[in-house]
């Protein structure tokens, strides 16, 4: 469904008068199945967020290609929606109006978009907060709104950029469980960027380990845990423990080889 073939990306970085080329990604290959939940994990600066932005079409790539259902993409499209690490909620809009924003841009009529937005706010448990402003909500609730905004446009692929990276640990676990529940009901492909091994293993069907800059796919690992996954049970499962340990080793190895 999503084919990433030989994607590379370099940035021009200018410090004072010196312009240097920084290779962010080099020859990334990955194919993602329909309705798969896949996590991409790697050390900071390995280009995983860059990869996500390229898949979204926000930034161009230098070489290679990205195919979604066989079609090459080069710009954002209605088949994809992003959940941002910084939430990116507009502070002058209420929660409801924030969720409507994505629908507004897609020219959905006023009444229809309100009812769609309400529906998704309900699914993320924010139905009583639709007239609140983002700053009146906790980080976890803000990200629920961000998730509702992305789901509201009914994308095939949900791109999540370290979505729970800036909430506290308990909220994070709660959000992970809610996300899994939603995903099981909504049937979407999820590409999830994280630097938490625990999070990657708990959520995903497969975990992609990336090398440090320039980012490459180091390893792709299947997660042999049955679904639905009950968080407390899963984390005690020896397979879970083994796999997180294995990923940790793999990351360490990749970092040693990289530098």
């Amino acid at each position: 469904m999503v084919e990433i073939r030989g994607v590379s990306k370099s940035f021009q970085k200018t410090v004072k008068d010196n312009t240097a080329e920084v290779r962010a990604l080099t020859d990334v290959n990955l194919s993602i199945r329909e309705n798969e939940f896949i996590s991409i994990i790697g050390p900071s600066g390995c280009g995983k967020t860059t990869l996500l932005k390229i898949i979204d079409g926000l930034i161009p790539h230098d070489s290679g290609q990205i195919l979604i259902n066989g079609k090459r993409i080069s710009a954002p499209g209605p088949d994809r929606a992003v959940v941002f690490q910084t939430f990116a909620l507009l502070p002058w809009r209420t929660v409801l109006a924030n969720v409507e924003f994505s629908l507004e841009l897609r020219r959905v009529a006023k009444e229809e978009r309100t009812s769609i937005a309400r529906n998704y706010l309900k699914r993320v448990g924010l139905e009583d907060f639709e007239l609140h402003y983002p700053h009146e909500l906790s980080g976890g609730m803000q990200q629920r709104a961000g998730l509702a905004r992305a789901l509201a446009v009914n994308p095939l692929i949900l791109l999540m950029d370290e979505p729970f990276g800036s909430v506290d640990a308990q909220t994070r676990q709660l959000l992970q469980e809610e996300l899994l529940e939603l995903w099981q009901r909504e049937q979407k492909t999820v590409i999830f960027i994280t630097h938490s091994m625990d999070e990657a293993v708990y959520l995903s069907d497969r975990v992609v380990v990336m090398t440090p800059r320039p980012g490459r796919v180091a390893e792709i690992l299947d997660v042999p845990l049955a679904r639905p996954r009950i968080a407390d049970d899963v984390r005690r499962d020896p397979k879970f423990v083994d796999l997180t340990n294995y990923i940790w080793d793999s990351l360490k190895k990749a970092m040693e080889n990289g530098h």
Partner: protein, 251 residues
């Protein structure tokens, strides 16, 4: 009423009492007692002189300020949005922002003559630069993640401008408008005193040179009240537009 309002009232009453005492014990011409000023104010009000001059002044203020807001916001938006426009203009804007506008009065007389156009030009020049700079800063400080989010959901450039940049910059724009309002009032009085003796400014000059201090203070007090009311008006508009955020002011 809230405690802020109570303290405001106490402050005003205290000042009034001290003033009255000072006026009665010290030289009358230098500090006329407040009661004297009040009766002078009443006299000016009844004669219609204060009101007719005030209307004239406020007309100038409104025209100059209106132009400054419209042009200031447009130029500020362009400068914030396009680096080329910014670098083309920022030298002058920054210089003019802190230059004493009074120095330009003789030039304005040459250009616009001694009529109302000159006075409007002074008000405009006093107010416009702070509005430009605040608007520009507001546009440049728009959170990049909002732009990225909008693009990701398929926003076109015009949608990004109207749905993201403009509302995000609104608190800074309104801060500029508020500061501009204060400067516009200064411009109005300056123009009327230095350019052509009209309106409130003329009254100040007239009573000042005649040592009619009670009437002079009555006029000054009127200006303070006008300044306060206009600021309050801007604040009300601001509150309606940007109630979601505390303002940032750059001056």
């Amino acid at each position: 009423m809230n405690s802020q309002f109570r303290i405001n009232v106490i402050s005003i009453v205290t000042l009034a009492i001290l003033w009255e005492i000072a006026g009665r014990t010290l030289e009358w011409v230098l500090i006329p007692p407040l009661s004297q000023i009040a009766s002078a104010w009443l006299r000016l009000l009844v004669s219609g002189k204060l009101l007719s001059n005030l209307v004239m002044s406020l007309g100038t203020l409104a025209a100059g300020f209106f132009l400054a807001v419209i042009l200031g916001i447009i130029v500020g938006l362009l400068m914030g949005r396009f680096r080329e426009v910014e670098h083309f203009l920022d030298l002058y804007i920054n210089a003019l922002m802190s230059a004493p506008m009074t120095a330009f009065v003789p030039v304005l007389i040459l250009w616009f003559g001694l009529g109302v156009e000159s006075r409007i030009a002074v008000v405009f020049l006093f107010a416009v630069f702070v509005i430009i700079i605040n608007t520009m800063t507001g546009v440049k400080q728009v959170d990049r993640s909002f732009l990225e989010m909008a693009r990701s959901f398929g926003a076109k450039e015009t949608e990004i401008f109207f749905k993201i940049i403009l509302p995000a910059a609104m608190p800074a724009i309104m801060a500029g408008v508020r500061l501009g309002m204060g400067r516009a009032v200064k411009g109005m009085v300056t123009a009327e005193m230095l350019l052509t003796l009209t309106g409130i400014g003329a009254m100040i000059m007239q009573y000042g040179s005649a040592f009619a201090t009670d009437a002079l203070f009555a006029v000054i007090l009127t200006i303070l009240i006008v300044a306060m009311i206009t600021m309050k008006l801007v604040q009300v508009v601001d509150q309606r537009l940007t109630g979601w955020k505390l303002e940032i002011a750059i001056e």
